[in-house]
């Protein structure tokens, strides 16, 4: 446990990558389906989805977590490690992961390529442009914005109310100064003056559309359905009405194809889309899941944040679109997360753990156990088998790791330690065996609500049955919003609850498994193109900022032209 690990970048640099055709072969993907982008990534032609499948669909495994600390609990590394671990026990698996956002790479970086000996490589490609999908989302999003403002400028024939426009602009960057802007200043020919702002590209509705669409035709339909604002009379105005949807589809025609990369152990990974985990679905794409499930025995996908967040939307939103039935859920837990849930410690983003948290203290772990128990219950609530994966850190103590195991076993869950960061796939073999066993159980997957339920009822069911709230409290505005959305025909859409990921409740300060609380819904918005309605329950940041010494200042090329300081 005291191995001194080389840095992620050093490990990644030493990797001998396989030709992608060999990686594809391992995934069962036909070589001719690969469209190369650079030497180490390829797009997969969606033609592979045509015709009758030659085999039963893969077993679908979602990797989720307990409520994380601001440092994250290693969900991506566990997903990568597990996929590598499957090969160690003779099973064939494929990963489907979100593409990391480039903005945070230059801010405070969490590292979205995995870590240690469980990484996607080349990591600098993954964390910068990859094949340009995020750029395409940015371009399509901003084309719609430009066409909207041009429509206002050229006479506003649709009668769009400038004070009721929800479509902003996006950039894949951390730039606080763009959160609130006034555009169209200067002489009259420089456009109509109005207030608006920029979000980070990952927060674009188009990013969610990219993640949820099931074909090029479906992409076209969803883009056309985007509501950019309302007329003076309260009627929605769509991208279709602005004549933008066709051109937006043309911009996204390549982006819709998932990107094939590999792990350090040459496990095939489809990297695709990267919607925000707080206001959006926080899951990789339906198309990547469909491709992977057609060719592999096991598909391992990661959902953002805790099981109350990304996994809930995986089950209630994404699986409804893909039609894929989850076979098991991996619940990543760390000693430090349960210690934090004891309420006895404070963990801050971008800072090292307080020294006292590293001392041996299984009591702290047990004091935070409620959070793990609640997440096990959340997963079970969907009729899915939970497998608790203890992501082992070098600083963990044996007594603490055992405490976690006892808590999980007492709750009736399968449990396994995983040392994939230090040992790669070999360190995840125990976890892989537990997952395979869980997948053998008969699944009785059940979403939390039916689409026929009213929007308010859907919100209430998620709040009470998933989060454990007593009830929801709709503000006057929220009630008005819901009524209007039902009238506009959005009533059959699924819901997303935009709340903090640092608590199962909507209060980031509440640790463990909060009870006796009410979910306050401030307002409700509709992502009609993506196909969901989302309730705002807290302050959601959709454009990060840069700190006083952003990570970008450490990034440069070395004398060989290789990127250094990326992580």
């Amino acid at each position: 446990m005291t191995t001194k690990l080389p840095s992620d970048l050093e490990i990644a640099r030493q990797a001998q990558l396989w030709p992608l055709a060999d990686v594809a072969q391992r995934a069962g993907l036909p070589a001719e389906s690969l469209i190369p982008y650079g030497r180490h990534a390829a797009k997969v032609d969606l033609d592979v989805l045509e015709g009758e499948p030659q085999r039963p669909p893969a077993k679908m495994i979602v990797v989720t977590a307990v409520t994380p600390t601001p440092l994250g609990e290693g969900k991506t590394t566990t997903a990568v490690g597990l996929a590598q671990g499957m090969a160690h026990i003779g099973q064939q698996a494929m990963l489907t992961l979100r593409q990391p956002s480039m903005g945070p790479t230059f801010g405070v970086k969490g590292g979205a390529a995995g870590g240690g000996y469980s990484q996607i490589v080349p990591m600098e490609m993954l964390n910068l442009h990859l094949t340009g999908d995020f750029h395409a989302v940015t371009a399509a999003h901003n084309l719609l914005a430009a066409m909207l403002d041009a429509h206002l400028f050229h006479g506003n024939a649709l009668g769009l109310d400038p004070d009721n426009i929800s479509w902003r602009r996006v950039l894949d960057i951390n730039d606080r100064a763009l959160r609130n802007v006034v555009i169209g200043l200067g002489p009259k020919e420089d456009g109509v003056t109005r207030q608006t702002g920029f979000d980070i590209t990952a927060a674009s509705e188009i990013m969610v559309i990219l993640s949820l669409c099931s074909s090029l035709a479906d992409l076209r339909t969803r883009l056309g359905r985007i509501v950019v604002g309302f007329t003076y009379g309260g009627e929605p105005v769509t991208a279709e009405q602005l004549g933008a949807a066709g051109a937006m589809t043309a911009i996204l025609r390549d982006a819709i194809q998932p990107n094939l990369m590999q792990t350090l152990e040459h496990t095939p990974a489809l990297i695709h889309a990267g919607p925000f985990g707080n206001i959006a679905t926080g899951n990789s794409s339906v198309l990547a899941d469909l491709v992977a499930s057609r060719f592999s025995d096991y598909v391992i996908t990661e959902a953002g944040f805790g099981a109350d967040m990304g996994a809930e939307r995986f089950f209630n939103v994404k699986c409804r679109v893909s039609g894929l039935i989850p076979a098991a859920a991996v619940l990543v837990v760390t000693v430090r997360a349960l210690k934090a849930h004891s309420g006895r410690h404070r963990v801050a983003p971008g800072k090292a753990l307080p020294a006292e948290m590293l001392e041996e203290n299984p009591d702290d772990v047990r004091a935070g156990a409620d959070n793990l128990r609640k997440h096990i219950e959340i997963v079970r609530g969907f009729g899915v088998s939970p497998v608790v994966a203890i992501n082992v850190f070098p600083t963990d103590h044996e007594s603490e790791l055992e405490a976690v195991r006892e808590i999980a076993e007492a709750a009736g869950a399968r449990v396994a330690r995983s040392t994939h960061v230090v040992h790669g796939g070999a360190g995840a073999a125990e976890l892989a065996r537990a997952v395979v066993a869980a997948c053998e159980e008969s699944s009785e997957f059940r979403p939390t609500y039916a689409l026929d339920d009213s929007l308010a009822s859907k919100l209430e069911k998620v709040a009470t049955q998933v989060y454990g709230a007593d009830s929801i409290e709709l503000s006057a505005q929220a009630k008005k919003d819901l009524k209007r959305f039902e009238e506009l025909g959005y009533g059959r859409l699924p819901v997303v609850i935009a709340k903090t990921h640092l608590s199962i409740s909507s209060d980031p300060k509440l640790r463990g498994a909060p009870t006796g609380w009410t979910l306050p819904v401030r307002e409700v918005r509709a992502a009609v193109g993506a196909g969901y309605v989302y309730a705002i329950c807290g302050d959601m940041r959709t454009m990060p900022g840069l700190g006083a010494t952003p990570a970008a200042q450490q990034i440069d090329l070395d004398e060989h032209g290789e990127i250094q300081g990326l992580f």
Copy 2:
């Protein structure tokens, strides 16, 4: 001359593309230097520039034009046609062209892929993302802007004067509403409030840097040298001081490699960079020229607008960096351009030619002859042989075409008709032969000025010796700017004169070859990273707008998922 031509898109669709490895072989490029991006484009590894060249450098041919009408005179089609024509006469040639900007593709589109049977294919790839270089420029540019605003927000240790910041943001889009904006509104944590704006990506200084840098190390140096604004004390503040240059280089590490594509006749073409032709150099990249000249017998490159604009900068700025000596210049002329220079007709952008301009009228052609004569003289002024290429339109009359030939021959220039749009390379065979003959002449290339000349003297020499102005008139501001730049050590930089491209003078209404005029210099700016000083002589638009019915409204996918309506 009455052939009914299929549309550009139809012709492009019917093309049977060669595998890029075969195209590379034709260019003499080693197969292992190709890094594929999609099925029909590849980046060329800059390793090909290492080691001793195996052959003498190619003969360098720049394709320029008379002063164009707002419709353009077919410079790109001529460059493509000529390159194809070289093969028809048994010569080996390679093209180096700018990448078209995506913004105008969705506005009013001029078609930057060539046209008819002289096109770069696949045209939809060329006109949309290609390999993402423009996106990389956008990302690098805006990262610097975000780091600048973060610096202001976190205490402004460098003492940057918020009222003296010249670094704006960019997007590859036509969006007039972004020309003038106020950012940093809202609560204090949302940044420092200040006025700024967005330019189109092609107008970014980083795009010029991409076009002028000669290696990755040179790119890094130039990025660090970018001046974003000045301190309260008047000292320049650079990207290096903000700690941004390394990260920007990382973002641009792949973009620096030229992109290999092919013409309809499989002629190799390097597509790279796309700086604006009015405020910037308007030429494709030095690196593309260096790669092409190392492997080909002839390199054909296009420079923006007329010979007073792009070609002047090709000679005075780009060739100084690349060290390549131009062997000949092709001067594209059309019957319609000379008719327009008669002053008897008006041609408006985005509109069809007035009917009376299509009537047979060689007198109108002769009345506009001064413009052609002046451009021949401009080319000769650089010691380069001009070849006049008459780009034949189906609506031209024999007497008019003969009139053009007589004017060119009377001026002592080689001249050839070219019907490459209708007949592909075969239609440019006469032109190709004339170009080969011109290249056999001994070249006495001489730039207009020496770098040791003062900035004012450089501006004056270009204005008088190239444009034919009597003198220049510096405003008080311009004098102040020049003095300050000399003090700051920018005095040895070459100059760019930002003026209209619709006249050889700075007044867009003056046709032909204006005489007896003075060039008014309103202000002078420095692009220190790119490495030139530019004089503002007129209103330069750096962010286009969308019309009432933008081209985007016609673009969509057909039932096979193919893009339609792109042109």
